[in-house]
C-alpha cells in the first residue's frame, strides 16, 4: 500500500496542478481573462447562484384551461362555418359544455354528412405514417338523435401542450433578448412549466411584466350604434363583444368579435415620437398580406373607429380618416418612453400561444446576495480553521498531513465546480464547509486504525500499511451510503438546495480521492525519508 509507481505520483501531482490552474480565472476580472489569460487554458469562473449574486427565479405554468377554452372557441367557430357551407345543415344547441363542443343535427338524413364535415375539423397532428398511432387534437363522439360532441383527445392535447410550451419558450427568449442586459436561462420543466432564471436582474417587476404578458394584439372595428351601457346589460348583437379601455376612466366600447388583423400581420414595431405632441408612440410595419388587408378594410370603413386591442384591453381607438395603404401606422395611448419600448418589444417578439401564470417566484436583491457571500466565506474560513486546529491537536504531524489533504480537497472541489460550471449557492457553500468537517473522517479512520495496529505490536511500516488497507473498505462503505443520500437530494432538489447537493456530492468524491491517493502518498513519502521507528500517533 505504500509503494507508488512514478506515473501514479505524477498523475496525482498533475491533478492538483491542473486544479490550481483551473482556479486562477476566478481571481481575475473578465477583462484580464480576455486580454492576458491564454485562450487555450480554461477561462471559466465559478457560476454564482441567484441567492449569491441576486436575481430572479420564475416558474411559469401554462394555463391549460385558458388554452383549452381558446381552442374550443375556435372549434365552435369552425363548426358554425362548416355547417353553413352549401348545402347547409340545420343544427341546434351549438355551444361549449365544459371540455366539449356539442351540437344537435336537426335532420336525421344529414347526420352522416355532418359527421363527415366535423371529422375534417379534428385537426390531425400526426398521420401515424411512421409507425406511430395517428393523433388528432379532437375526437368526435356521436350520440343518438343527431347529437354530436367534439372534445380533446388526451394524446392530442399533450402534443399541443408540448408545442405551446416550446413556442412560449421561443417567444420569451425573443422578448428577453430584446430587453438586453440580463442573460436568463429559459427551460422547460415537466409537461407544462417554464423556468426562467435571471441572475443579476435588478428589476424583477419589469421582467415579469414582459414575460408574463400574452401580448395578443388585435385590431377591431368599433360599433358606435350600440351603447356600452346597453351592452353591459347583455344586449349585444351577435358577433360583437364589449371591451374595456386600458386607460383608467375610459369608456368601454362595443367592437366586432372577429379581428380585422392580428399581431401576426406585423413585421416590425419601434418606439418613436409623434411629430406634433412629441408623445412616445409605437410605430408598426405590416407584412405584405397584412398591408393589403389593412388597405382594403380602411378603404371600406373610412370615418369609422377601429380599436387597437392588447390582451382584451383597448389601448386606443383612432378614427380612420383616409385609407391607409402604405402598410404602416402608429399606436398612441398615453405611453411613457419605457412602456412604449416594452410594447414594441412585445409586438416584435410575438404573442404567447397561451396564458402563463407565475407558479413560483423567488427574488434576491443584490444587497442580500453580497451579504450571503460574505457570511459564507467567513463561515467557511472559520470552520476550516477550527477543523485544522483540532486535527493538529489530535494527530500532530499526521494532523498536518490531514490538513494539507484538506486544502487539496478544497482546491479539487472548487476546480470541479468551476469546470462543470455547477452553480454555487449559499447552501452550496454550506455543503463545502460540511465536507471540510466530514472529509477528515477518512483520515481519522486511517489514523485510528494505524494506532490500533501499532499497539498490536506491528512495526510502523506494517501498521501504516495495514491501517490504510483496512480503513479503505470502511471508507468506501461509509462514503457510498452518504453519497446515495446526496444523489437522491440532487435528483429531487432545485435552486439553492440543488446547489448544496452538488457540492456535497463533489465533496464526497474528492474526499475519497484525496484519502486514498494524496494522503497515502504524503505518508508514504514521509515513511521513505524518515524511516520512523514509531508512528507518532
Amino acid at each position: 500500500m505504500l509503494y507508488f509507481s512514478r506515473w501514479k505520483v505524477t498523475a496525482i501531482l498533475l491533478t492538483i496542478f491542473v486544479s490550481l490552474v483551473v482556479l486562477v480565472p476566478n481571481y481575475l476580472t473578465s477583462d484580464q481573462i480576455k486580454n492576458y489569460w491564454p485562450s487555450w487554458l480554461p477561462g471559466r469562473q465559478v457560476v454564482l447562484g441567484l441567492d449569491l449574486q441576486g436575481g430572479v427565479y420564475l416558474l411559469y405554468q401554462v394555463d391549460v384551461n385558458d388554452y383549452k377554452q381558446k381552442r374550443l372557441k375556435a372549434l365552435e367557430g369552425d363548426i358554425r362555418q362548416a355547417m353553413r357551407d352549401e348545402p347547409r345543415i340545420g343544427y341546434t344547441g351549438l355551444g361549449i359544455q365544459g371540455d366539449l363542443v356539442q351540437l344537435k343535427i336537426r335532420d336525421a338524413d344529414k347526420v352522416d354528412e355532418a359527421a363527415k364535415r366535423l371529422r375534417n375539423l379534428l385537426n390531425p397532428l400526426s398521420t401515424g405514417a411512421l409507425g406511430g398511432a395517428a393523433v388528432s387534437e379532437f375526437q368526435l363522439e356521436q350520440g343518438s338523435d343527431g347529437l354530436m360532441r367534439l372534445g380533446f383527445s388526451q394524446a392530442g392535447l399533450d402534443k399541443r401542450l408540448g408545442t405551446v410550451v416550446q413556442q412560449s419558450i421561443e417567444v420569451i427568449r425573443r422578448r428577453v433578448d430584446q430587453m438586453g442586459a440580463v442573460e436568463p436561462s429559459i427551460q422547460r420543466q415537466g409537461s407544462d412549466r417554464i423556468l426562467v432564471e435571471a441572475p443579476g436582474e435588478k428589476d424583477p417587476e419589469r421582467l415579469k411584466n414582459i414575460i408574463g404578458r400574452t401580448a395578443q394584439m388585435t385590431f377591431h372595428l368599433v360599433d358606435l350604434n350600440v351603447s356600452p351601457d346597453e351592452a353591459a346589460k347583455g344586449n349585444l348583437p351577435p358577433g360583437e363583444i364589449l371591451l374595456k379601455q386600458k386607460e383608467p376612466g375610459g369608456m368601454p366600447m362595443v367592437v366586432d368579435e372577429t379581428p380585422l388583423m392580428t399581431g401576426e400581420d406585423l413585421t416590425d414595431a419601434q418606439t418613436s415620437f409623434q411629430s406634433q405632441t412629441n408623445e412616445p408612440v409605437v410605430s408598426f410595419r405590416l407584412s405584405t398580406s397584412g398591408a393589403r388587408k389593412f388597405a382594403q378594410v380602411t378603404t371600406d370603413n373610412v370615418g369609422r373607429l377601429f380599436a387597437i386591442v392588447l390582451d382584451d384591453e383597448i389601448i386606443s381607438a383612432p378614427r380612420i380618416n383616409e385609407p391607409i395603404t402604405q402598410g404602416s401606422g402608429q399606436i398612441s395611448g398615453h405611453f411613457t418612453v419605457e412602456s412604449a419600448n416594452d410594447l414594441a418589444v412585445l409586438l416584435r417578439a410575438g404573442a404567447l400561444p397561451a396564458k402563463l401564470a407565475v407558479a413560483e417566484e423567488r427574488t434576491v436583491g443584490p444587497g442580500l446576495g453580497a451579504d450571503s457571500i460574505a457570511a459564507g466565506e467567513r463561515a467557511a474560513l472559520i470552520g476550516t480553521v477550527a477543523v485544522v486546529i483540532f486535527m493538529l491537536a489530535a494527530y500532530g504531524l499526521f494532523g498536518i498531513f490531514a490538513n494539507v489533504a484538506l486544502v487539496v480537497n478544497l482546491i479539487l472541489i472548487m476546480a470541479i465546480i468551476t469546470i462543470l460550471q455547477a452553480t454555487l449557492t449559499l447552501p452550496g457553500i454550506a455543503g463545502i464547509v460540511l465536507t471540510m468537517g466530514m472529509a477528515v473522517d477518512s483520515n481519522v479512520l486511517i489514523y485510528e486504525r494505524i494506532r490500533e495496529e501499532q499497539r498490536l505490536g506491528r512495526s510502523p511500516v506494517s501498521a501504516i500499511d495495514a491501517g490504510f488497507r483496512r480503513a479503505f473498505g470502511t471508507i468506501l462503505d461509509a462514503n457510498i451510503t452518504t453519497l446515495i443520500a446526496a444523489i437522491v437530494l440532487f435528483q429531487m432538489g432545485s435552486g439553492p438546495v440543488k446547489g448544496f447537493a452538488v457540492t456535497h456530492v463533489i465533496g464526497i468524491v474528492t474526499t475519497m480521492f484525496t484519502a486514498i491517493t494524496f494522503t497515502r502518498l504524503v505518508v508514504a513519502t514521509w515513511v521513505r525519508y524518515r524511516r520512523p521507528s514509531v508512528v507518532p500517533l
Binding site: 477543523v387 462503505d477 451510503t481 437530494l489
Partner: protein
C-alpha cells in the same frame, strides 16, 4: 507534543448494559416528538404551504415591527407574520396563501411594495403558488423515503439484512428526532430542511456503517465470542473515531450556524442537531439493536471471505 485524546485507549464502557436505558430514552423521546408534532404542529414555511415571504431592510434605523405589522394588516391579506431577522433593521414578513390561484399570490408582492414604497430595501421575495407547494412537499417525502430504501438495499448487499434493518431503524430514529426538533424549536420547515434531513440520514448512516464494519470484522475474527461482549468491544474500539469525526463535523457546522447568516440558519442548526443525534444513535441504537435482530446474525454467510481479508498481508512489507 502530547496529542489530544478524548478517551483513553482500551476504554471498556459497557454500552450494551445501558441499552435498556438508551432504548427507553429514545422510545420516550420519539413518542414525545410525535405528541409535540400533533399538538404544536410544524412551523411549515411557504415552500410547503404556499404564500409569500419577504425580507426587507429599513433604510433608517431599527425597524418598527409594530408599525410594519399595522401597515400590512391594513392591506387585508389575511394572516401576516412579522419578525426581526438577524439584525434589528432586518425584517421577515410572511403572508399566508391567498384565496384564488397563482395570480392572487404574486399580486401580494405588488401590494406590499406599494405600501412600503422606497422606504425599505427589498432583500428577498419568495412566492410559492398552491400547486407547486403541494408538489414540493410530496417530492420531499418521496426523496427521504427513496434515500432510505436505496441505502437499505446497499447495506443489505454489503452486509446482512440484520445490519440493514438495524441501520434503517437507527436512521428513522434520527429523522423522527430531527423532525421533533423542528417542532419543538419551531424552526421553519422548508425545502432546505428536507436537504438537512437527507444530509443527516447520510451522516448517521456513515457513522453506523463504520461501527457495523468493525462488528462484522470482529465476528469473523472471534467466532465464539459472546455477542454482547463483541458489540461492546466494537463500539469501544471505534469510539475515538466516532467522536473525533463528530467533533470536526460539529466544528464546521457550528461555524456555519454562527457565521453563515440568517438565511440558512434553520438548515445549519438542524444539521448540527442531527449530527449529535446521528452520533448518539450509531453508538446507542444501531449497534445494540443487532442483539435483537438475530443473535447469530444468520450464520454470517460472509464468513468464507476471511481468506481475502486475513492476516497474510500483515507481515512487514
Amino acid at each position: 507534543m502530547r496529542l489530544l485524546r478524548l478517551f483513553p485507549d482500551d476504554t471498556k464502557i459497557p454500552f450494551m448494559k445501558w441499552r435498556k436505558w438508551s432504548f427507553l430514552f429514545s422510545g420516550i423521546a420519539s413518542v414525545l416528538c410525535f405528541i409535540f408534532l400533533y399538538t404544536h404542529g410544524m412551523n411549515t414555511g411557504i415552500d410547503f404551504q404556499g404564500g409569500t415571504l419577504m425580507e426587507i431592510q429599513t433604510k433608517s434605523g431599527p425597524a418598527d415591527l409594530e408599525g410594519i405589522r399595522h401597515t400590512l394588516d391594513a392591506l387585508g391579506l389575511g394572516e401576516v407574520q412579522v419578525q426581526s431577522f438577524g439584525a434589528d433593521d432586518d425584517v421577515l414578513i410572511r403572508i399566508v396563501r391567498q384565496e384564488g390561484g397563482d395570480e392572487a399570490q404574486t399580486a401580494v408582492v405588488t401590494k406590499v411594495q406599494a405600501a412600503f414604497g422606497d422606504s425599505v430595501e427589498y432583500r428577498r421575495t419568495e412566492v410559492v403558488g398552491p400547486r407547486v407547494s403541494g408538489e414540493l412537499a410530496e417530492n420531499g417525502i418521496i426523496g427521504v423515503l427513496a434515500a432510505l430504501a436505496l441505502i437499505m438495499v446497499y447495506v443489505w448487499f454489503r452486509f446482512e439484512w440484520q445490519y440493514s434493518l438495524g441501520a434503517v431503524i437507527a436512521t428513522l430514529h434520527d429523522v423522527v428526532m430531527t423532525i421533533g426538533f423542528f417542532a419543538v424549536a419551531q424552526l421553519e420547515f422548508n425545502l432546505s430542511s428536507i436537504a438537512a434531513i437527507l444530509t443527516i440520514v447520510g451522516y448517521s448512516l456513515n457513522d453506523t456503517v463504520v461501527v457495523y464494519d468493525r462488528i462484522r470484522e470482529m465476528r469473523r475474527k472471534y467466532k465464539r465470542l459472546n455477542l454482547v461482549v463483541l458489540l461492546d468491544l466494537a463500539i469501544n474500539q471505534t469510539l475515538t473515531r466516532t467522536t473525533n469525526t463528530a467533533l470536526t463535523t460539529l466544528l464546521a457546522l457550528a461555524a456555519l450556524v454562527i457565521f453563515g447568516g440568517e438565511v440558512i440558519r434553520s438548515f445549519t442548526a438542524s444539521m448540527l442537531f442531527g449530527v449529535v443525534i446521528g452520533t448518539y444513535s450509531s453508538i446507542f441504537i444501531a449497534a445494540p439493536i443487532l442483539i435483537f435482530l438475530d443473535p447469530q446474525l444468520a450464520g454470517d454467510k460472509s464468513a468464507k471471505k476471511i481468506e481475502d481479508d486475513g492476516d497474510e498481508a500483515a507481515e512487514p512489507a
